[in-house]
Amino acid sequence: MTTAANDQLQKRLKLLQDRFVERAQGDVETLGHFARQIEQQQLSRTDLVECYQLLHRMAGSAGTFGLPELGSAARSIENQLKPVVEAKARKISGHEGSVALPADVAMQIHELTALVQKGVSQSKAKPVDAKSQQPDDTYEGSHGMQVQVMALAHDTGYLSGLMADLQGYGFATEVVSFSEPQAAIDELKQRSGATILLCRDFDLSDVLGFRTAHLEKNEHRRFPVVGIGRQNTFESLYRVAEQGATAYFSEPLDLPAVAERIESLALERGARPQGRVLIVDDDKELGERYCLVLNNAGMKTRLVSDPTKMMSALSAFEPDIVLMDVQLRAHSGVTLARMIRYEPRWLGLPIVYLSSEDNPETQLDALAKGADEFLVKPVTDEYLVRSVRIRCYRARQLSDLMNRDSLTGLLKHSLIKQEVERELSRCRRTGHLSCVVMLDLDHFKRVNDTWGHGQGDVVIRTLAHLLRNRLRESDTIGRYGGEEFLVVLPHCDPTEAAELIDDIGKRFSELLFTSGDDSFQVTMSAGIAAINDFPLASEAIEAADQALYARKQAGRNGVTLYERQDVNQDD
């Protein structure tokens, strides 16, 4: 195993261990509740069994997750309970008396808490390790969502300036000269997400040649080439399109538009999981062949050759789409599709028929009964892969559409509020500090009135991009209202949060928006509250909102932390 692969593995192990510790904390809490019942001699038989099973599970798993002491302590208690559980099981069922256990057992159960706590402090005691193992989760360096842009040129002078401007939008940028391309190639090959290659129009063919020479063909999608040129004539556009540039911008550059295009290219072309496909076909060999072809193209598949198992396979596998043979031996695919629609949760699931039926009338009939599209057999492997991939992509787009705000791609109002609630309960469980931030553009009405709503939208989208680029993958961002954003920052104390948001605010205020020959700048204000300080998520949001209001009163363009007295004084 290579060092990089091993690091990656260690990182994932660590993550799983942290998750286990989090769960174990909840488990010992439940066990503590049982222990108190034991002390009061009120443990019911059902609770005894549950307590026993919980201990058994802990005994069998804690060691795997690096907490062997917790595991053996749980095993020891489990062994003490075992004879009681088995004796009770032999008695007549329905006997609902309480179970008598020695108080010593309760004490041992209480002691488990300390052992779990040890696991918590273990993972916190090694900050250096934790950091190197979780680079995605720190504010320094690049975050999970930061978009990579690489400029390639023979003469890097012009692009260096442009890249510096783009950095202002939060992109990770790099300028590479064709005289020394090797470092760039090595780095590109290691990247898993998308990297946008930026170049001047006259270097375009060299850049495309560079991509062909050094990156696998099936990887080209992740490295779209964006050209920058002087001319905006039909001929010049046609020429760059013919060469294969994915996008083209002519001078004078509309920077927000360039940034937005780069952002959307990166999102669309990142190496995200490519889709889950459930195949229903009673011709096993054919079905397996489809699986193989789709697997090789990076998709996950599950074959159902017995339609009676279809419904359980659906809920176990949770596919993005279903590929259904239209005529199975004993069953009709059309009827099966209708059956799938009986379950409310699969109402939106795309079902694609594989059929040798090319009569449009019959196809229409099937579509009316619940399927979405047809693939007419025989299909070539390449056609199968491409059409399934497109449909998976669309299916995901659709679910994004339902959950995300269309202008910014951020979570919708209701979902981001839910996220605050979830973070609050996580905080309660593990005791970590988290913050909620309410952000608002300053004088946004003035922007709309002066420059038009189109420009207003550009400003909103630009702030959304900047937030996505500057925050960690574990942070969640939502569009709360017109020009209001709500951000959840897990594992982040208020001071840290204030510094971070202040930095984003500064960067944002430096961005220049252009409209015709004019240009303008916009600032933002933010209010921050510690989620932990509130019993309800809605109160934390309200507090952040009050802090935001205080900031607006104090002259906008900055960040205010929620403090009860301050707000009262402002009132």
């Binding site: 994932r12 058994h56 069998g60 595991g71 359980s312």
Partner: protein, 131 residues
């Protein structure tokens, strides 16, 4: 890897605890280099096994509804898995119980908790011993 190339490639792992499944995925796939299928219940295993055609099945003993030994019995009724080697994973390591599992036709018993870094080696060792 210090093992001889043999016909052990596809491993099916049946375990009701999602956290353990996640770490087993690392242990078997990333550390061990197996190609794997993960199932959360005996019923799912019975469904998945004929398609996946595993070379070896790992069964957690204590699972709700259908437990490990029951799952083994059902798997033996299916043509695709009637001879597939099975290893039990259990947190209870009493001699009598181990003997019971072996008498059901299991290749071996691996005690839980397992070490994710050595689980694959352990499986290969048991498998080799019976090859």
């Amino acid at each position: 890897m210090p093992y001889k190339e043999n016909d052990l490639n596809k491993v099916l792992y049946v375990e009701d605890d999602a956290d353990i499944r996640a770490i087993a995925e690392l242990a078997l796939q990333d550390v061990g280099g197996f190609s794997i299928a993960l199932c959360s219940s005996g019923a799912e295993a019975i469904e998945v096994a004929p398609d996946f055609q595993p070379d070896l099945i790992l069964l957690d003993v204590m699972m709700p509804e259908m437990d490990g030994p029951q799952t083994l019995q059902e798997l033996r009724k299916i043509e695709a898995t009637q001879d597939t080697p099975v290893i039990f994973m259990t947190a209870r390591i009493q001699r009598t119980e181990i003997d019971e599992y072996l008498s059901l036709g299991a290749l071996g018993v691996i005690p839980k908790p397992f070490d994710p870094m050595t689980l694959a080696d352990e499986i290969r060792r048991i498998h080799q011993a019976h090859a």
